[in-house]
Structures are given as C-alpha cells and as structure tokens.
Symmetry: C2
Subunit: 394 residues, 2 copies
C-alpha cells in the first residue's frame, strides 16, 4: 500500500531477534518536518524510548520514526543511553538532526538492547513508498501485518491517512496501544492534530483488550506533513470534523485488527452495549465482558455460557439494573437471544454453537436504561495464548 505524499518507509534485519531471517527494524521518514500528535501508556513503568520521545516532541515536530522489534528497551540497565544511540543512528542514516527522530521498541522487557547491531546494519535499509515491509518488521507475536488507510477530500484536495500497528499480547491499552504509527499528508495545526488523536484513541484503541495487561511501551504517533496542499486546519471546522472521522476510520480498523490477532486468538469478539444511560457506563460494561477470562474461554469453546457475561458486567464497577438486561449472541450465522430481563430464556443450543463457531462473534447487550451505547473489541482465550506466553523469552 502506497504511503501518503512525501512519506517513505522501509525495514531491514539487524540481528535483535533470534530469528535471523525476519526484519527487526523499521524506519519511516517524511521529506519535510511533520506536526506530530502522540499518546503514551499510562503504565507507571515506562520504557526509555517513550521517555525520549516526550523530550524530543517538546516542539511537537519530527521527521522520522525508527522502530525495533524483539526488545522493548524497558527496565534495561542502559535503556536511555541505547534509545539515544538508536535515535542517532537513524539521524545519521537519514542525514537529519537527531531531534527530528522518534524511537519506538517492542519485545521482551528488561533485557539490554543490542544497539550496536542497529548502528552497524541500518545502512542496509532501503526506503520506498510502500508500507508493508515496515508493518511486517514491527511485528512480534503478531501473525499478520496491520495496515489501514482512508482518504478524505478537504477543500478540493485529496488527503490521505495511512496507519500501521502491532499487537498482539500485553494489550489492554490505556492511552495508546502497543505501537501504532499513522502518517498523513494533511496540513493541520498541532493542537488540533493532538485533539483528533486523543479523542479517537479513547474510542478505538482504548476499547480493545487481549489480556488485560497494559504495556510499558504503548505508543501511538500520528505524523502530518502537510504535503496534500489543503488549507491548514486551524480550528474545529468542517474540515477538522472530516479529518477526525477519517482518522477514526483508520484507528478503529487498526484496533479491530489488533483484537482479531490477539495472541493465540481464534476469533474476534465484539461486545456492543446498547440503551445505556451513559457512554462511560456502556464502555465499562463492554470492556469487562471482552476482558473476562471466563467469557473469553467460553467463546473459545463455542459455549453460550451467557451467565459469565452477566457476571462480568456485575463486577465491572458500572451501575446498572440486572433485571432489565437482555443478552444475545450473533455472527454471520445468525442471532440467538439467551437472556431476557436478567433471566435465562430457552434457546437452541445447536444454533448457539453454530453462531459461536464463526470467526467473528458479537455479544449484544441491551440495558434498556437510556440512549447511549459503546462497542469494545477482544478475542477468545486459547491454549495457544498460554503456549505463546509460557515461553515467550525462550
């Protein structure tokens, strides 16, 4: 997929991973400086690349991002020193100032980043105008690249937005998600870019859970280089709304791709809570359902064990009246109502099993309390999740 105007991307193998064939460093570059919006993990334990970016982005501007997989560069002895060396290596390769380069890392926590191999091998990287190679190089336990794009016409100019991200474990984002990089040629003021990113983050990435673990490295960056030629967006006008909607399309698609490719996952779970009093209430309830180990295991087993759905809602912390709740399971195969007004209703186990055997399953909850609603995304809990995470380091 082609990058927006003025953006270039590429990847190479530096030797951080044990796997000697897969690329482990990606580089994204804009021919001109970009306004940059950024959101980071709320985890108290923060990786050094994240702390370095906060410093670098004091003027909200950058021209490149270097990303390595295979090592999170978090809680490591020389973490900040190595993050700075990674930044400098990219700056040298691109012939730009180090403070124009952002750094991101993903992989195991607490192990020293072998930054020398990046310094030595980065020169083998070739920049081009497609994104797939970079999207592949940032993967860890992900099984597929995660890419999304949208185009919007602003004042007669076609503006493109292209994003890549990685999951797929330690995913319960709280501000950003594991790692996401969104490129756009839109001309937009930094404050509005940051607002569009933050609002959308809360409605997309922050509504995904794979395993309830919020990473130390969560980060979502959006880089806008202005080369589309649209009049710079400087207030919350129609252009801003259109841009924000298009950005949301990209971010929601990436969020769903993360949930669907959750570690070991065999199916995507979408939980919609409708007719809530408030969106916050609906979000807390939907997130509790997609985060519940027991709901996730039931989905893995194609088991219409809706009692676990009510149970998860009940301990979520949100107030609601259990006696009003309806629950249904739906998929491409059909829809079956399993609970009405808080009590079990007779249903066809055969139909339920067929519905829950599909790859994408919806849990539909109606609170009958108001007009607000919210959708959250998760995945099932499988043997493979346990397997992948039982020997992640080894």
């Amino acid at each position: 997929m082609e990058t927006p105007q003025g953006f270039y991307a590429g990847a190479c193998h530096c030797g951080i991973r044990k796997n000697q064939t897969k690329n482990d460093v990606a580089l994204i570059y804009s021919s001109v400086p970009c306004q940059v919006g950024a959101v980071y993990t709320k985890n108290v334990v923060k990786a050094d690349p994240l702390l370095l970016n906060k410093e670098t982005l004091k003027n909200h501007e950058a021209q490149a991002v270097i990303v390595n997989s295979g090592n999170a560069n978090a809680c490591a002895l020389h973490g900040m020193e190595n993050a700075i060396r990674e930044q400098k290596a990219a700056a040298k390769f691109l012939d730009i100032a180090p403070d124009q380069v952002l750094v991101a890392s993903t992989g195991v926590i607490g192990v020293e980043l072998p930054v020398e191999c990046i310094e030595e091998n980065l020169s083998s990287l070739q920049l081009g105008t497609t994104i797939e190679e970079a999207a592949n190089a940032i993967m860890t336990t992900d099984t597929t690249e995660k890419i999304a794009e949208a185009t919007v016409v602003l004042d007669g100019k076609s503006v493109r937005i292209l994003g890549i991200c990685k999951g797929s474990g330690m995913i319960h984002p709280n501000m950003g998600t594991m790692l996401a990089f969104i490129l756009t040629d839109c001309a937009i003021d930094h404050t509005l870019l940051q607002k569009a990113l933050l609002d959308n983050t809360n409605q997309t990435f922050n509504r995904v859970s794979v395993d309830g673990d919020t990473s130390t490295n969560d980060m979502c960056l959006v880089m806008a280089n202005g080369l589309a030629g649209n009049p710079t967006i400087v207030k919350e006008d129609e252009s801003f709304v259109l841009f924000q909607q298009a950005l949301k399309t990209v971010m929601e698609s990436l969020a769903v791709q993360i949930a669907k490719d959750g570690e070991g996952a065999s199916r995507l779970i979408t939980c919609r809570v409708k007719e809530a009093k408030e969106e916050d209430q609906a979000e807390t309830l939907a997130k509790a359902v997609v985060s519940s180990s027991l709901c996730k295991a039931a989905m893995f087993g194609h088991d219409a064990n809706w009692g676990r759905v009510l149970c998860a809602m009940g301990y979520s912390g949100a107030e609601f009246d259990p006696a009003l709740v309806d629950v249904a399971f739906a998929s491409a195969c059909g829809c079956v109502k399993v609970c009405a007004q808080g009590k079990g209703v007779p249903f066809s186990e055969e139909l339920a099993a067929a519905i829950l055997s599909e790859d994408e399953i919806d849990i539909e909850i109606n609170l009958h309390e108001g007009n607000a609603e919210c959708t959250c995304w998760g995945c099932d809990l499988t043997y493979d999740y346990v397997k992948i995470n039982g020997d992640y380091r080894t």
Copy 2:
C-alpha cells in the same frame, strides 16, 4: 475431621449434576441456634440464595446451611422460588423452622435449579460428626476438598474452629469467596463475630485471585453455636483477639488452598510486597501481579519473565517509584534476584528455571519505600484452565 461440638454434617446425591455418582448436596446443622456472621459478593448481579440469606439473617441467627453444587441458581427464571423451596426442604428434613436454614448454591449460572430432586432425595442424607463428605459435595471443578481447622483456649475452655470452602474458577473474591462455611463452638456476640469475619476476609479471601472474575455467588458464613462453654465474648478483649487470630489461621489456610487448586493450576503463586509505604498500596501491587494473565502464563512456562511483574505493578493503579524496585523469585529450590532498582540484573537461567519448576513459587518484591507489606495468592494460567472453561456447561 471432626466437627466442633454440636455440629453435624452430611451429603447426598440428588441428581443436579450430570455425574450420577458424586454427591451434589451438603447439609450442615447445629443442635442449637448459632450466631452467624456473613459476607457476600460485591458483584451487582447476585444469586437468589444470597438474597434469601440476607433476608433470613436479619436477626443474625441460624441453625443450618444447605448447599448444592452443579447449579448456581443465579439469573434463573424461578430462582428465588427455588431457593425458598430448597430452604424448606432442609427445614422439613431437620424439623426446624425455615428461617433457621441458610442456602448456598454453586455451578452454572442462568439455568433453572431442579429443586424437585432435592425435595425428593434429601431424606437419603445422613448427618454425622465429620466434615469431609460435605466438603466434597460442594466441589465443582475443585480437584480436592478444602478443609482447615484451629483450636484456641479461651478462659480455660478449648474452642474449635473448622472451615470448608470451594474454589476454583470465577475466583477474584470481593467480600467473600466462592463459598466458605466456618463452624465454631465459640460463644461470641454477633457484632464481634461479624467484625472478626470481615477483617479476616479482607486479609485472606480478598487477597486471592484465580482468574479475575468475581462470582455472583460469593459467600462466606461463620456459625458460632456457643457450646464450647467459654464466657461469651462481648468486647474486643484478649479472648476476642485470640479468637480472631485462630479464625484467621483457618481462613488464610482455606484461601491458600483455593489459590493452589485454581482451575487448571499447576502451581501456587505467592506474591509478597515488602517495604511499602502503606498496606493498601502493597495489596494493590501484589494483587495485580497474581492477577496478570502474562505473569501467570510465564509461571506456567517456568519463565523468569520478571518484566511482566514490573509491568503489572505499573498498571495496577498504585503509586510507587519503579526506580527503587527489587524483584526475586523463590521456592523450596532457592532464591534468585532478577531485578534491582528497577533494572534487570544478570542471573542464572538454570537456577531460575529450577526455582520456577517447583509447585509453590514466591514472587518477592521490595519497594524500599516504607515498612508496610502485603501477601496475595494466585496460581498459574495453564492449557487446562482454557480446556475446563471452554466447555464448562457441556
């Protein structure tokens, strides 16, 4: 194990479970009325037996508990009606008033309790002075009975405390745990009995997590019939302190037994947070570690992936300084320090793997911030957890 003076227990098979050989109803009876302390789940969705007990215990007194496994009688169409019928069946069998009988249920949520089979088969139950049969009958996915006892001498009289409980999934107690029944012949005022129970619950059952799911049926009852002949405890004197400590011994033992027998678990995980500023802070941090799916999966894989420990602490919500944290893993096989002042230190992978291959593993965390500490208990996350919960209803 013998019951305290005046208590009798027994069990029978009524036909609630598909398994036609295992007992599914237990009955506990005191020859005289008891003061009863009770704590219940904070889940907003509450099972009907729990609601019935709240009503029954308005005068804090009861003489018996009937418990069925195989069906939670929660979110079921005629839940309250069936709980009352179960209560009446026990009262009729024991020839006491229905308001002297408490009811507890555990098993699948949302399915109608086949109360007729209890009404028809309860007469086959035989009461005796041992507890094992009752402890066995309340098990669901538990693999072993959970029993603990303590004796304390108060004013020259020997007072006994005997408790049974069940786990082993949907365990993240918040007030009581799945089901626990504690019998004592101590003479004690109701208010003090309730205080002893509540304080101890917060320090024992509420520090256990198997899967982060707080049940709709959590309940812990303590029944004191006064037959030990000690002067009735009516104030917080030395006798009260001794009784409360003995009760804690029983409750902590039961809590640890639940964690160790968590669904599919292959090992007990004990997380101790030391040198914290406050006990609450230490508890939040320790609970986050034993609740983290990624820490649990690492323990399953004997993988000293301590970065996940710091990560879980970081998103727990508790404040602390990551730069001061030490982490070590310990077991019967030895102890290995893996993190000092928030950074990884070199350690022997062979020793770490040996330590983590034991059945009981300690995660030792030192915050270097103060003098408070807290211990929480959990278990590893295994293939069997997924298997058990993938087809729990079927």
